[in-house]
Every structure is written in structure tokens, then in C-alpha cells.
Symmetry: C2
Subunit: 408 residues, 2 copies
């Protein structure tokens, strides 16, 4: 049914993935998509989707190729859409362009649309190849995939600990946080921030470290959106109005906490936005924070900061992806995981095999990727199994090692 890939397909699809990643802003709730039109290995059209209401990547690439598209090959990181949304469906445009061949990384995971784009291309007499660079393409749209096209927000937890499970100690000088992990790991986190609408720390981290939560380590070589995330803190205490030096959000349970007006004109861009949330055992209820994200036009949340905030999100069962960095040091003391409640059942006799927790789906993850990150160990754990998702979205025709860079 689907044609086998050609030798140059992988290289050209990697370029399409790169186009999808290097965008001006996060395209949520639409997925990032890149497309390339190539003829005899020469790229004659490029496109990247920039978000709702703007043209799709395939249409942009075909438009640039113009009449030269006839007989050429179209590379799409995602199955071309077959339904009328805010923009017309792409499949008719692909058929009308006269391309001879379409290479697609993954099927459209969106369960709410008609689908069948690939089948309609095949019916139109076009050779279709599926599954090229599938892992890289899925990585780009992972938040879109696991939330069911953002029916709810995507939550990524990032932790950085020592070998003995210690988080970084509090800063001892103003604005000089102690880092457990290497500069390379922190650079990766800055890229991760670019894929996130909101970056959240807890009140303890904010008061102890005053982290800037910016993306200053991102370089022009990093494939990620050009826009910064919104810094946020979850606290029942009083935040300083100059924290992060940028506009930020305070999730709090205190009605009395009012936005502090900027005291001088140059601070007007730094005004607080205070969002009232529910309380939970002395902290801010994560479920409540997630509910409020829609009001901030935010679909993806990166949870950073200390063990108490991380534990509250794990306890609430709302973490979709966990990116953990482990530094090759032993600290022996310092902040560590608090006790928290997972489910209501006691630990069973045997956690593994048959692992009741995994079957209940509340506290288990799957290991998507492990890698060195300089001297540190990086592991990516997902609640929705990555490999099984890839097999589903490529009809089982892809089996690659996941890319090390990329999306949230």
C-alpha cells in the first residue's frame, strides 16, 4: 500500500522537521508542521505552520514551488489534513499541485477530525511513503498527541538532582542559584522552556533563588520557537513585584493579593498578573492551576523548581512527561523528595510484575529516551508510551531511535 522510502527521504524529512521547529511562536493548539517540496534532491519549496488561522505548511511549500511542483516530491512531517478547519483542507491542494510522490512522517493523531488524508492521496494516484523520521516528527507534536489536541494542558516536569536524589540547595547570594547539573543540561532546559507557554516554580524556589526563568542560553542553532515563555510561581506567600524582571504570573490562594502597579514607567511591562487558585494541603492545587491556564492562552506548562512543587504535581497525577537530569555527584544533604500520597492503596507485595500501579495508570511512566548530557544523565519518561504511539501513527512502518533534541 505504502511505497518504500527512497535514499534521500530521510535527509529531506529532517529538513522539514527543522522548519517545523524554527518558528516564530508556538502554534498551539495546532501542531507544529513542516513541509518541503523537492525535485531531484533540490529543495524548491518550504513551509512551516505558525498557528491557528494561518496557512498550513504543505500549502506554503507548494505555493513556493509553484508550477515546478508537478512531478516533484512533497515531504510533510504530519499527514496532510483532509477536513475543513479554519483553513481549507490540504489534500485537494496536494492533488491539484501535481506532485508525484508524498512522503509523510506520521499520521494525524487528532481523534476529532475525519482523517484519511493518506488514503485519499493514494486514491488520487500518488505514491505515498509513511514513517520517515517518525520519532523526530512525533517529538514535535508530543504535547498535541498526549492531550488529545489540548483537550487539557500538557504538563512537563523537569527535575535536576544529584545521584542521591538531592535537589539544588538554595542560593547563598542574591540571584546566584546553585546548579547541580552541567551547563549543557541547563542549555537543554532553556530550549525546553521555549516549547512551553508557562514555566512554573514554587514559592520556596522563587524566594530562595529568584530564578530568571528565561531562555538566555538558546542560540540561533537551536530549533525552537522564537518566543519566550511566561514565568510563573505557585505560592501562598507574597511575591516580589520585580521577580524575574519580566511580566509574570502568580498562582495563589489569597484573595487579598492584588496586582501591584508598576512603580515606574520602565517597569510597566513587568506588572504582576495574579490568578486565584484553590488550596491543597497548604499549597496551591495543581488541578486548579491547570484549569486557569486556558485564561492565559496557555496549553503547555513546564514545572521546574523544587521537590515540593514536583511532588504536588505527581500526587495530583497530572504529569504527562518527566525530563530528569541526574548529576554525577553525591551531596548527602539538601532538599529532597517529601512524603506524598499516591493513590489510596498501600504498596502491594510486589511492585513489579504485574505492577498494579502501572495498570491503574496513576503513578507510572515509560522510559522514552536515555542519553548522556555532558557529565549528566538525561532520561525522558512519558505517561503515554512513546514507542507504541509511534507504531500506531506510522501503521508500524517506522522503528527509529528517538531524536535527542526537539520538542517539549
Amino acid at each position: 500500500m505504502f511505497a518504500a522510502p527512497a535514499p534521500a527521504d530521510r535527509e529531506l524529512m529532517i529538513q522539514a522537521v527543522g522548519l517545523a521547529a524554527r518558528i516564530d511562536r508556538r502554534p498551539w493548539p495546532n501542531p507544529p508542521v513542516g513541509a518541503i517540496v523537492a525535485r531531484d534532491g533540490e529543495v524548491i519549496g518550504r513551509g512551516a505552520h505558525q498557528g491557528p488561522g494561518t496557512a498550513h505548511a504543505e500549502v506554503l511549500a507548494l505555493r513556493e514551488a509553484g508550477s515546478r511542483a508537478r512531478g516533484a516530491t512533497l515531504y510533510c512531517t504530519l499527514e496532510p489534513c483532509n477536513h475543513q478547519g479554519r483553513t481549507p483542507p490540504c489534500v485537494p491542494a496536494v492533488l491539484a499541485s501535481g506532485v508525484a510522490r508524498v512522503v509523510v512522517a506520521v499520521r494525524d493523531p487528532n481523534p476529532t477530525v475525519a482523517g484519511g488524508g493518506l488514503e485519499r492521496l493514494l486514491d488520487g494516484g500518488i505514491a505515498v511513503t509513511l514513517g520517515v523520521c517518525a520519532d523526530d516528527a512525533i517529538e514535535l507534536i508530543w504535547p498535541f498527541v498526549v492531550t488529545g489536541a489540548f483537550v487539557r494542558p500538557f504538563v512537563c516536569l523537569k527535575t535536576a538532582t544529584s545521584l542521591d536524589g538531592r535537589f539544588a540547595p538554595a542560593a547563598r547570594r542574591e540571584r546566584a542559584p546553585v546548579y547541580v547539573t552541567s551547563e549543557l543540561a541547563r542549555h537543554e532546559v532553556h530550549v525546553l522552556r521555549r516549547w512551553s507557554d508557562v514555566v512554573l516554580v514554587g514559592g520556596e524556589t522563587m524566594r530562595a533563588d529568584a530564578p530568571r526563568l528565561d531562555t538566555r542560553m538558546v542560540t540561533s542553532e537551536d530549533a525552537c520557537p522564537a518566543c519566550d515563555p511566561i514565568p510563573a510561581v505557585a505560592t501562598s506567600g507574597e511575591p516580589g513585584d520585580e521577580w524575574t524582571g519580566r511580566r509574570h504570573v502568580v498562582f495563589t490562594n489569597r484573595r487579598s493579593l492584588n496586582p501591584i502597579p508598576a512603580s515606574s514607567p520602565e517597569k510597566s511591562g513587568q506588572a504582576l498578573r495574579v490568578v486565584e487558585c484553590d488550596e491543597c494541603e497548604g499549597g496551591i492545587d495543581p488541578a486548579s492551576i491547570l484549569e486557569r491556564l486556558a485564561g492565559l492562552d496557555a496549553f503547555t506548562l513546564l514545572v521546574e523548581g523544587g521537590p515540593r512543587l514536583a511532588a504536588s504535581f505527581l500526587e495530583a497525577g497530572v504529569v504527562d512527561r518527566w525530563v530528569s537530569y541526574t548529576a554525577p555527584v553525591v551531596l548527602g544533604s539538601g532538599p529532597r523528595w517529601p512524603d506524598f500520597a499516591i493513590g489510596k492503596e498501600a504498596v502491594p507485595d510486589s511492585i513489579s510484575s504485574p505492577r498494579p500501579e502501572i495498570e491503574s495508570g496513576t503513578v507510572s511512566f515509560t522510559l522514552t529516551r536515555v542519553a548522556r548530557c555532558g557529565p549528566d544523565l538525561k532520561a525522558v519518561w512519558d505517561r503515554v508510551p512513546f514507542a507504541a504511539t509511534r507504531d500506531r501513527l506510522t501503521d508500524g512502518s517506522a522503528s527509529q531511535v528517538p531524536a535527542s533534541g526537539g520538542g517539549a
Copy 2:
């Protein structure tokens, strides 16, 4: 100087590594060594060293090959020795055999011997290749390498934790430990035990779980010594005389604790051996345990069990290798790392870059290997950098990915 490898070299050296690993007993304080003589790809001689006073692998392999060795190739997992020990040096035997070519995985790391084996072979007109399967070969002799040929015992720490750094909770039924990690991970640990002279748990683990500490999951396909390790417990409390059901050792600070005579003839093999050690802050001093190992003819120690025992060895600064398994579950409660003291200095402002701890060398490791182990994450951390050691022992002529199986 050294000849480039031939196409079949890797496959034949892997066989030599397999011979070195499948031995009747651990050859400590000598290193495991395997050798093969091959002619036109056909193996005509095999040898594996079985320990002090027995023939070296090269000699055994050349003996089996006999006169057919003339013009053949000798594969050695370790540089042939050039000095008179308990057995004659191997280099003259290699020269006399008439082999045309010698392929060696790594140089002899032993700093106390003359060395120069490879150079003498070259002077004898033999073509020599260095660095084939170096990682697998170094893995075999790693305890020998990092301890300086067992000037002191080799200590391997094994931990198995949840994603939130919890150790397995105590057994709720007799002899039914709760496992955090998968069966595959536990199988690997059983192989690791075979490479260890003594396997140690703390008193809390012994009383809570009564672990068998055996190697029942080892199969005939596992390349490891055929002998079992000695189970041991470090405790200031009273051990049961039937713990593990086998002869075991109790490291204790109590003079009054006497060996309990076997109460029936069939238990005579299970008699306790009690070794008096120094105390440290309510526990048994790890340094003291290491000193007593020589009296047990033990060179390699595998530290298993709970967080308190692990912390005491880390605090003492005596862990050479740390094999950590992380299961994809979140427990939220249960045993976790205690606070312990590392060095006397407070945590510096920035742990990474320039990382004073790493430079002082007391609490840092390097990441040797990461891998999936079923659903779990396995990471091997070494105090002595593995890659740098490989480069040193191969004159920089090897650059392979470390093997996933193999020695302690």
C-alpha cells in the same frame, strides 16, 4: 607501529572475552583473561585463566593449537605478560609458538609489573593489533584496574529506586521482598553477584526482607563465574542463624556475638562467621569492613540493600562503581536517602563548573554507561573514568561503545 584490525578480529575477540567470563571461579587477584588461536577464521585453540598459580589463557590456547599455531593468529583479551610471576612469562611462549599475528584488546594495566609485552612481540617480528573489543575486555578486568590489582578491595554499590528516589518498602510477608525494578533488572543483579566475592546488606534489610542473596536467576547463557558469592550483613543487632539458608558472614561491632553452632547436621554448612568491626555513628564502619575482607579471601564487594547502608559507604568515600536502576514508578513514600556528611565543606555557590567536588575527587562519579533494562533505566557510574582508562590502555586506538553485559 600497531597493525590495523582485520575484518574477522572483532568476532574472534568477542569469543575470547566470552571464554574469560565463563570461568569456574573468580580469578582474583589475577584478572580474567581469555585467548583464542585461529587460522583462516577457524578456532584451533582456546584458553581462560582460572586464577593464581594456574596456567595463563594464552599458554592454554597455544597448547591446544600445538604445531598448528605456526602462522596462525593469537587473540588475547589482555596484553601477554612479560614477567615471571607464579607462572613463567607468556611472551616467550608466544614467540616460540610461531604465531604470525597477535591481536590484543587492552594493555596490561598492572602498574607493578614490567610490561612491554607488546613491544617485545613487535621486536620478535610479530604483527600486533591493539584495541579490538577494548570496552568489553576492560569491563572484565575493571575491579582489577581501578584498585591497582587489588591493593584494596573493589566496592560496587547497587541501588534500585523509584523515580522519586524511594527504595523498596519492607516485605510484608516472610521472605517475600517487594521489588521496585523489573525481573530483567534483578536478573542482571544476580549476574553481578557472581562477579562479587561478598554481597552485603544492612541489618534493616536483613530483618525486614531476609533476602536470599543468591544467584538463582543466572542461566547457562550468562557469561560469569560458576561460583556463588558469600552473603553478608552489616549489623549491630542479632542475626538469625538461618538467614539466607547458606554459610554467611556477619560484620558486627559486638564482641559478645558468637558464632552460633549449627543446631542440626544438615545446617552445618550454614554456620555463621562473625567478624568484629569498628563502629561508626551507630552503624558498622565501611572502612573496617573493607579491612576485614582480606581475611575472607575476598577482593570484590557488592553492596546491596537499603539507603542507610548505601549512604554509609558513600560517606566513607569507598564506592568504586555505582550501578543504579530506576523503575518507572512513583511511590511517594517509603525508605529514602538519609542525610549524611560529604566532606567537611559547605556546598559551594555553584556545584557545576568548575565543580570543586569533582576536582577533590571524593563524591563524584563519571557516567560510564546508560541503557534500558526492560522498563527500567540502568546507569553505571564509576569513580575512575572508564573512557579515559580505555584510551590509556589502548594507546588511544579504540573507541567503541561499552558492552552491555559483562563483569562487575
